[in-house]
C-alpha cells in the first residue's frame, strides 16, 4: 500500500501542466486522485511523474454557454451535483453526479478526471455519450481541439487524449425533455454493475449503457426500435445488442445483459413518461 517512488510537480496553469507532461516518459495527471492513487498504492500504476493540476483554480466552474452548459474539468462531483444551473437545464448530469461513490469521493473526485480515466463502469461517461457532450482538450503550443463524447472513449481506460494533452472543459446541451439515469449496483458506493442513461431530446430518445463493454455504449438497437415506433418494453429487448459486458465477482455477463434490458425499459418509462 506504499506507492513506488515518483516525482511530483504542481502545475500553475494548463500550459504549465502540458509542459510538465511533455518532459517525462510516463507522467500522469493528478486531479482528484480517486482513480489513480489506489492504482499507485497497489503498484498497478507506477508513473514516474505526477502533474498535479488540482490547484489550477480557473478550471472549476459551471456556466451557461448559449444552448450548452460549460463545466470546468476540475469541478468536483459535489459541485456538479449541487449546481442549480445543471439541476435546471441538464438535470441528468447533476443527478448522476450526486450518486457517484460516496460523499468523500464526491468532494474530491472531479468530472474531468472521471471522464478522462475512461473507466467503462464510470457513470458520467455514459451520461455524456447519451447527451452528445463535447470535450475541450488543450495540447502543446496553445493548441486546442474539441472531441464529441461518442468519439472520445476508445477502449478500456483508453480515451482520445494524448499523454501531453489536458481535458479542460465539458460542454453538455441543455435538455428539456424527460431523462433517467438508472444505476444497478450491490452497494451504493460501488461502480455500476450496469447503468442506463436515457435522454429525450428533440422528440427522440438517446440511450447509453454503463459497464456493458469496454467503453460507454450507445444502445443503438433500442434507439432504432424507438424511432420505428416500438414501445419501451419492446425496444428494451434490444438493450444488449452489440454489448460485451464483463463477467466478474459482481455478476456474470449473462446476468448483466438481462439487467440491462430491465433497466432500459424502466429508464425509458421514466423518460418518456
Amino acid at each position: 500500500m506504499i506507492p513506488a517512488a515518483f516525482e511530483y510537480a504542481r502545475a500553475e496553469s494548463i500550459d504549465h501542466a502540458i509542459e510538465l507532461l511533455g518532459g517525462a516518459d510516463d507522467a500522469k495527471i493528478l486531479a482528484g486522485g480517486h482513480s489513480l492513487l489506489p492504482l499507485m498504492k497497489t503498484r498497478l500504476a507506477q508513473p514516474s511523474l505526477l502533474v498535479d493540476i488540482s490547484r489550477i483554480g480557473d478550471l472549476s466552474y459551471v456556466r451557461e454557454d448559449g444552448d450548452m452548459v460549460a463545466i470546468g474539468a476540475l469541478t468536483r462531483h459535489h459541485d456538479v451535483a449541487n449546481s442549480e444551473l445543471l439541476q435546471q437545464v441538464a438535470p441528468i448530469v447533476a443527478d448522476t453526479a450526486s450518486r457517484i461513490g460516496d460523499p468523500q469521493v464526491r468532494h474530491v473526485g472531479t468530472i474531468g478526471g472521471s471522464i478522462a480515466h475512461a473507466d467503462p463502469a464510470g457513470d458520467m461517461g455514459t451520461v455524456m455519450v447519451a447527451l452528445g457532450a463535447q470535450f475541450a482538450i488543450s495540447a502543446a503550443a496553445g493548441a486546442t481541439r474539441t472531441v464529441a463524447a461518442g468519439d472520445f472513449f476508445q477502449g478500456l481506460f483508453q480515451a482520445d487524449l494524448a499523454a501531453n494533452e489536458v481535458l479542460t472543459e465539458i460542454r453538455v446541451p441543455k435538455t428539456s425533455g424527460g431523462w433517467s439515469y438508472l444505476k444497478f449496483n450491490r452497494r451504493a458506493i460501488d461502480w455500476a454493475m450496469v447503468g442506463v442513461a436515457a435522454v429525450q431530446q428533440n422528440g427522440s430518445a438517446a440511450v447509453a449503457l454503463t459497464n456493458m463493454g469496454e467503453t460507454p455504449l450507445r444502445a443503438a438497437g433500442v434507439e432504432e426500435a424507438l424511432a420505428g415506433g416500438a414501445d419501451p418494453a419492446t425496444a428494451s429487448a434490444r438493450a444488449d445488442e452489440g454489448a460485451a459486458p464483463p463477467s466478474d465477482a459482481f455478476g456474470s455477463a449473462e446476468y448483466r445483459r438481462e439487467v440491462s434490458k430491465v433497466l432500459v425499459r424502466r429508464a425509458l418509462e421514466e423518460t418518456l413518461g
Binding site: I2, F184, R186, R187
Partner: protein, 787 residues
C-alpha cells in the same frame, strides 16, 4: 463522591468514546520509538508451490535495509512452531506452522521472508526485490475436492482430512428412519473476511541483555498471546509483557497468535532495536484469518403436523492451509447448539476438518454458532414449506419449555435458563407479522414486480466461555476462568484491573457501573485498566461473548471481598458489630442511627494510612477474584426480517428488521443495543453481500474492499429492538452475553425472508450471500429455464 443512583441497568454514556471520537486514541500505529525499524513480509505470487530458492541479495542491498531473513536464517529463533491450542480429538493431524514457511508455499499469502529496514517505505520496496524460485503445484480451495486427497497439501500428514469430530449423538436416533417426514437439505456457507477497521499491527522492543521483551499488539488476547508467544519464541512468560493498546475491532480476527507477532519479537531480540509492523488491507485479506467456509448435509425428522423429532448435521469445514490458534475447535463450538431453541428428541452432529490451499480459518463473530443457526433455521423453514405450515407456527410448536433453572438438553450440556416464547411473541408483534403476511398475499395476488418476504430466525447460543472442567473434557489446553482486582485509593477513586481485553465492547463503562453501585461511588470515580499483562496480571481476554458473564462476574466477586473488608473496618471504627451495619444510600450505616456511617472513600483512606485498623488486618482496601464459571450461558431470541425482492433483477431491499433478544440481565442497555446493531449489520452483510471468492488457481479474487462487499450504512436497515429478561443461573449478575447474538441470528432471518419472497414462484433454495444474480437465477430456474 457518594452516589445513591443505581447505575447497573442504566444507559450510561461510554467513557471510552471521548478520546476515540476526538482522535486521541492510542493504537499500535500511533506508537513509535527511538531507533525503531520496520518489518515487511514477503508473500510471493504463488498459491501452492515447492520452493527451490529464495534470493535475498538484491533486497539486502536496498537503501535502509537492516536485514532480510528467511526461515533458514531464523532456524534457532523459534523453539516451537506457532501454537494451536485446541487438539479436539486424540488422532487429530496437526500441520506444522512456522512463522515463515520453509520448503513450500501453501496459500496465497504464505510468507517466505521478512525484510527489516529503517522506514516502512524502504521495507516494502525491499520486500518487492526478494525473488523466489518455486515450482507450482495444483492448488485446491474447494472443500469436497480437497477431501478427495488428490492433492495433499501437507505431505507429512498424508491427507487433507485432518480431523473428524463427532458429538456422538443424543436421544433416539431411530427417528431418522421412522419419522413420517424426513427433510434433507445441503447448505454451503462461504468464507468471510472479518474486516476489523484497524488491521493488525505490532511493535516489539526490549532488552536482549536482560532477556526481557514487550510486544504491543492489536490483539484481543494479550494474556493468551503471552503464553503462545512464549512457546513460539522461548522467551519465558515471566519476561514477556504483552500490551493491547486501543484496538480497533477484532470480530475474532485478533483472537490469535500470529506469525508476525512471533517474528517481531524474534527480530527485536536479535537486532536489539524496536521492530514495528503494520498490516496493509490487502495483506489483511490474505494473512489474517477468515471465517465460516463450511458445507452441511442436514436432516430433519418430524411429523406431518409440525413436531420436530430429530435433527442431524454432517459438516465439512474449511480449515485453510494451516491451523491457527483455535481452527479445528470452531466447528465444534457450534456442535452444542444445532438443536437451536427446539425440543428435538434426537440430535446428531459431526464434522470433518479439511485442509485447503487458502488462508487459515478461525473464530469469526459467533464462531461455529452462526454456522449452526443458519442451517437449523433454513432447515426449519424447509420443513414448514414441506408440511404446508406457517414457519411461525412450526417454531412455536417446538420451543423448549420455559425454565428459570438450569436443565439438561438432548445435546448433553445443561442450559442455564430458557423462555423463548415471550421473545418470539414480541418479535412477531413488533414485525406486525400477520399484517405483513396479508400484504405479502396481496402482492402475490397482484403479481407485483416487487414481492414481500418475511424471514424468521429463532436462536440459542452458548456463551460465557467457559467452564474449565468442560474445556478440559473437550481437550482445550487452557482454562476458561477470568480475574479481577479492585483497589480503593485514599482519594476515593477506584482502580479495577480486569482480565478481559475490550476492543470496542465498552467494558470500562459497564464494569464501572457495577463497581460504582457496589461501592457507592460514580462510574467516573472508577478507572478500569485492561489489556496489559503487567497491569491486569491475570486473565483470559475477550471473545465468545464471555466478558460480562465471566469477566464482570469476577469483578462482582472481587467487589464482594472489598465490601466485606470495608464492612469490617466500618464496624471497627463505629464500634459496633458488623451485623449492626446496613448498606444504605452508599454507606455502611449503624442500624437505627443512620448518621453514624462510613463511606467507602472514608474506609479506603483508613485502610491506606492504616493507622488504626482492626488487629491482624492487612492495609489497603482491595480485593481479587478469579472466577471459573460452573456452566456456559445460553442467550436466545428471535429476529424477523421483512424484505422486498425485485423479481426482475433479483435485488433485495430490507424493509423492516426486528431483533428481540434475551441476554439475561442487562448492565448497560445502550451498549447492548449497540452490540445488537453491529451484530445484525455484520449478519446482513453475510446474508446479502460478503463472500471471499477464490479463482481456479487459488488466488483470492475478493482482494480488496472494492471486490469484497462490506456494506455501508446505506445498505443496513434501521433495527427495531426489544428484550425479554430471563436471568442466567450461571453467575450472580444474571448476565448471558450479547456480543455475537446479532451475527448469529440475522443471516438466516434475512435469507429466509428472501426465499419467502419468491417461494410462490417455486424457489426453495438460495445460497448465501443472496446476491441479486443468485436470486434472479433461482427465480429463472424455478420458472423452467431461460427467462
Amino acid at each position: 463522591m457518594v452516589a445513591t443512583e443505581q447505575y447497573v441497568g442504566s444507559p450510561v454514556l461510554r467513557k471510552e468514546d471521548a478520546k476515540l471520537l476526538t482522535g486521541q486514541g492510542n493504537f499500535v500505529d500511533n506508537q513509535s520509538m527511538a531507533g525503531m525499524v520496520w518489518m515487511a513480509l514477503v508473500r510471493p505470487p504463488h498459491v501452492h508451490a515447492t520452493i527451490q530458492s529464495i534470493d535475498t541479495a538484491a533486497a539486502a542491498s536496498m537503501p535502509g535495509v537492516v536485514g532480510v531473513y528467511t526461515a533458514a536464517d531464523l532456524e534457532t529463533a523459534f523453539p516451537a512452531a506457532l501454537p494451536m491450542v485446541w487438539p479436539i480429538t486424540e488422532d487429530i493431524k496437526i500441520p506444522t506452522h512456522w512463522p515463515l514457511t520453509k520448503d513450500k508455499i501453501r496459500f496465497a499469502g504464505d510468507a517466505v521472508a521478512v525484510v527489516v529496514a529503517e522506514t516502512r517505505e524502504q521495507a516494502e520496496d525491499a520486500a518487492e526485490m526478494v525473488t523466489v524460485s518455486a515450482s507450482d503445484l495444483p492448488a485446491v480451495t474447494d472443500l469436497e475436492e480437497a477431501a478427495t486427497d488428490e492433492v495433499v497439501i501437507h505431505e507429512d500428514l498424508g491427507t487433507n482430512v485432518v480431523v473428524h469430530w463427532s458429538h456422538g449423538g443424543g436421544g433416539d436416533q431411530s427417528v431418522f428412519d421412522s419419522a413420517p417426514v424426513i427433510v434433507q437439505e445441503r447448505f454451503t456457507q462461504p468464507r468471510l473476511i472479518p474486516n476489523a477497521i484497524e488491521p493488525r499491527g505490532c511493535l516489539a522492543y526490549g532488552s536482549p541483555a536482560a532477556g526481557e521483551f514487550t510486544l504491543v499488539s492489536a490483539t484481543q488476547i494479550p494474556h493468551i498471546c503471552r503464553v503462545g508467544l512464549s512457546i513460539a519464541t522461548g522467551v519465558p512468560q515471566s519476561k514477556l509483557r504483552i500490551i493491547a493498546p486501543d484496538v480497533g475491532g477484532g470480530f475474532g480476527s485478533k483472537l490469535n497468535v500470529y506469525a508476525e507477532e512471533a517474528l517481531a519479537l524474534a527480530l527485536t531480540r536479535s537486532i536489539g532495536r524496536p521492530v514495528k509492523w503494520i498490516e496493509t488491507r490487502p495483506e489483511n485479506y490474505v494473512a489474517t484469518i477468515h471465517g465460516r467456509g463450511v458445507l452441511h448435509d442436514c436432516t430433519l425428522a418430524g411429523t406431518e403436523d409440525g413436531e420436530i423429532q430429530g435433527m442431524k448435521f454432517v459438516e465439512l469445514a474449511d480449515m485453510g492451509a494451516y491451523f491457527q490458534l483455535l481452527t479445528p475447535g470452531i466447528p465444534e463450538l457450534g456442535g452444542w447448539v444445532y438443536m437451536g431453541p427446539y425440543d428435538t428428541k434426537a440430535y446428531w452432529y459431526e464434522f470433518k476438518g479439511i485442509i485447503t490451499n487458502a488462508t487459515p480459518t478461525d473464530a469469526y463473530r459467533g464462531a461455529g454458532r452462526p454456522e449452526a443457526t443458519f442451517v437449523i433455521e433454513r432447515l426449519v423453514d424447509a420443513y414448514a414449506r414441506r408440511i404446508g405450515m406457517d414457519p411461525a407456527d412450526v417454531r412455536r410448536k417446538n420451543f423448549l419449555p420455559p425454565s428459570a433453572e438450569a436443565f439438561a438438553s438432548v445435546m448433553g450440556l445443561s442450559i442455564d435458563s430458557a423462555n423463548y416464547e415471550p421473545t418470539f411473541d414480541r418479535a412477531l408483534e413488533l414485525a406486525e407479522y400477520d399484517q405483513m403476511r396479508k400484504e405479502q398475499q396481496a402482492r402475490r395476488d397482484r403479481g407485483d414486480t416487487k414481492q414481500l418476504g418475511i424471514g424468521l430466525s429463532s436462536y440459542i447460543e452458548m456463551c460465557g466461555l467457559a467452564p474449565s472442567e468442560i474445556l478440559g473434557a473437550l481437550r482445550y489446553v487452557a482454562g476458561g476462568w477470568d480475574a479481577a482486582e479492585i483497589e480503593c485509593r485514599p482519594d476515593g477513586k477506584v482502580v479495577v484491573r480486569t482480565g478481559t481485553s475490550p476492543h470496542g465492547q465498552g467494558h470500562e463503562t459497564s464494569w464501572s457501573q457495577i463497581v460504582a453501585d457496589g461501592l457507592g461511588v460514580t462510574p467516573d470515580d472508577v478507572e478500569v485498566l485492561h489489556g496489559d499483562t503487567s497491569v491486569s496480571r491475570l486473565g483470559m481476554d475477550t471473545y465468545g461473548s464471555r466478558s460480562a458473564s465471566v469477566g464482570a462476574e469476577a469483578v462482582a466477586r472481587a467487589l464482594e471481598k472489598v465490601r466485606a473488608k470495608a464492612r469490617t473496618i466500618a464496624a471497627h471504627e463505629l464500634e459496633v458489630a458488623e451485623d449492626d451495619l446496613e448498606w444504605t444510600d452508599g454507606a455502611f450505616r449503624v442500624s437505627g442511627a443512620p448518621d453514624k456511617a462510613r463511606t467507602i472513600p472514608e474506609l479506603a483512606a483508613s485502610a491506606w494510612h492504616a493507622h488504626a485498623l482492626p488487629a491482624d488486618m492487612e492495609p489497603m482496601l482491595e480485593g481479587t477474584a478469579v472466577w471459573d464459571p460452573p456452566n456456559f450461558t445460553w442467550p436466545g431470541g428471535t429476529h424477523i426480517c421483512v424484505v422486498e425482492v425485485d423479481t426482475e433483477t433479483g435485488k433485495t431491499d430490507i424493509m423492516r428488521y426486528v431483533a428481540v433478544d434475551d441476554c439475561g440481565n442487562v448492565i448497560n442497555p445502550m451498549i447492548v443495543e449497540g452490540q445488537v446493531q453491529g451484530g445484525v449489520a455484520q449478519g446482513v452483510a453475510e446474508a446479502l453481500y460478503e463472500e471471499a471468492l477464490y479463482d481456479e488457481s487459488g488466488n483470492l479474487m475478493s482482494s480488496s474492499m472494492t471486490q469484497y462487499l462490506v456494506p455501508t450504512a446505506v445498505e443496513i436497515p434501521s433495527i427495531t429492538q426489544d428484550r425479554t429478561v430471563t436471568p442466567s443461573t450461571t453467575n450472580s449478575l444474571g448476565v448471558k452475553g450479547i456480543g455475537e447474538a446479532g451475527t448469529i441470528a440475522s443471516p438466516p432471518a434475512v435469507v429466509n425472508a428472501v426465499i419467502d419472497a419468491v417461494s410462490h414462484l417455486g424457489v426453495s433454495h438460495i445460497d448465501k450471500p443472496a446476491s441479486p444474480e443468485r436470486v434472479w437465477r433461482a427465480i429463472r430456474d424455478a420458472q423452467g429455464g431461460a427467462a
